[in-house]
Every structure is written in structure tokens, then in C-alpha cells.
Symmetry: C2
Subunit: 106 residues, 2 copies
């Protein structure tokens, strides 16, 4: 793996890393039906404003979401909605894993 390829894999990993957190995953799924205000995330998740804000920054810096400021509020929306398609495969992995564990108990 040369330097160029290495940087490319690091960039790819950064995108997946942005998704790889329960709170951020929840936010991304929430955005499936369109734009939402930061305040909604804070209300529904039991976290500090600052914590949510930092999670949103991670998603924004990865290029997954974008923010739209309107009035006092900030709304976030998915910039690249194809990430939603990951979910069914992630669930397939979890199911396969559950089956394997069940098989070991037999």
C-alpha cells in the first residue's frame, strides 16, 4: 500500500468512523425523513447540547450531513442519503452473528 492509497483508505475510514457511533447513527436515521433541528436531537436523546453538537460536527466534517441555519435554529439534513442503505446490511451482519452464536449454544 503506497502513500497515496494509504491516504485514500484513511479518508474512507473517516466516513465510516463518523457513522460508527450509536448517537450519530440514531441521528442519521432520524434524518431519513428530512431536515431536523438540533434541539430535537437534544430533546430526544438524553445528552448535553454540547455533546450533540460535537456529534453533528463529526458528521458534518465527514461530509454526511449539512447544516442550514434559519433564524435562531440550526437544521441538519443528509447531504448524501445513500448512507441510509447501509442499515439493512448492518442488520444482516447482526443477524448472521446472532445465528452463529445461537448455533454455538446447541
Amino acid at each position: 500500500m503506497d502513500e497515496r492509497e494509504k491516504r485514500r483508505y484513511e479518508a474512507k475510514a473517516k466516513v465510516l468512523k463518523a457513522l460508527a457511533h450509536p448517537t450519530r447513527l440514531w441521528i442519521v436515521e432520524k434524518l431519513a425523513d428530512g431536515e431536523h433541528c438540533v434541539c430535537e436531537f437534544v430533546n430526544e436523546l438524553e445528552h448535553d447540547f454540547s455533546t450533540i453538537s460535537k456529534h453533528l460536527a463529526v458528521l458534518r466534517e465527514a461530509g454526511i450531513v449539512q447544516d442550514n441555519k434559519r433564524g435562531k435554529q440550526v437544521f441538519y439534513e443528509l447531504k448524501v442519503p445513500c448512507v441510509l442503505r447501509f442499515m439493512s446490511c448492518v442488520e444482516a451482519v447482526m443477524e448472521s452473528q446472532a445465528m452463529t452464536h445461537a448455533a454455538l449454544l446447541e
Copy 2:
């Protein structure tokens, strides 16, 4: 988010986290064309055997790959190949990000 849902998001995040590392991503893509021996990864990546082995353990525990021991060697293969479909979307995110940055420079 109740306790049950929380655990579910943690499990999903675990799968994505397993993919969210340059070396592991490289390994997963390498497995696109089928089974490969651990020794091949060690040869092609400039890492210690133990480092590669731990990365493989992360992928295995997440349910993404499975190991097949034959003779002295251990071969790994994708257990749930749909993860390969993530790549094009990850690249779409990167491209969208590149465009945004380019736009800012104008």
C-alpha cells in the same frame, strides 16, 4: 431512546466501527474476490503479524468475516458480502465533500 433501542444502536455501531479503520477496510476489500490467508495480509500491509491478527479479530467478532483453518494456515472470507456495497456510497460522500471544499476556495 429506551434501553433496548440503545443496545440495538450500540450493536449497529459496533459493526460499522469494525469497518472504520484503514487497515480493516483494506482487508475487507481484498476479500471481495474470495478467501485469503492471513500471511498475505501481513506481506502486503507493512504491519506486524499480531497487529493484523487483532484487526481480523475485530472483523470476526463483528460478524463480518469468518476464519477457515486449513493445515498450518488460517484463511479468512467475507461472511456477509453486502458490506462491499458500502464502498461506492463512501466514495460518493468523499466526492461530495471534495466538491464542497473546492467550492469554498472559489
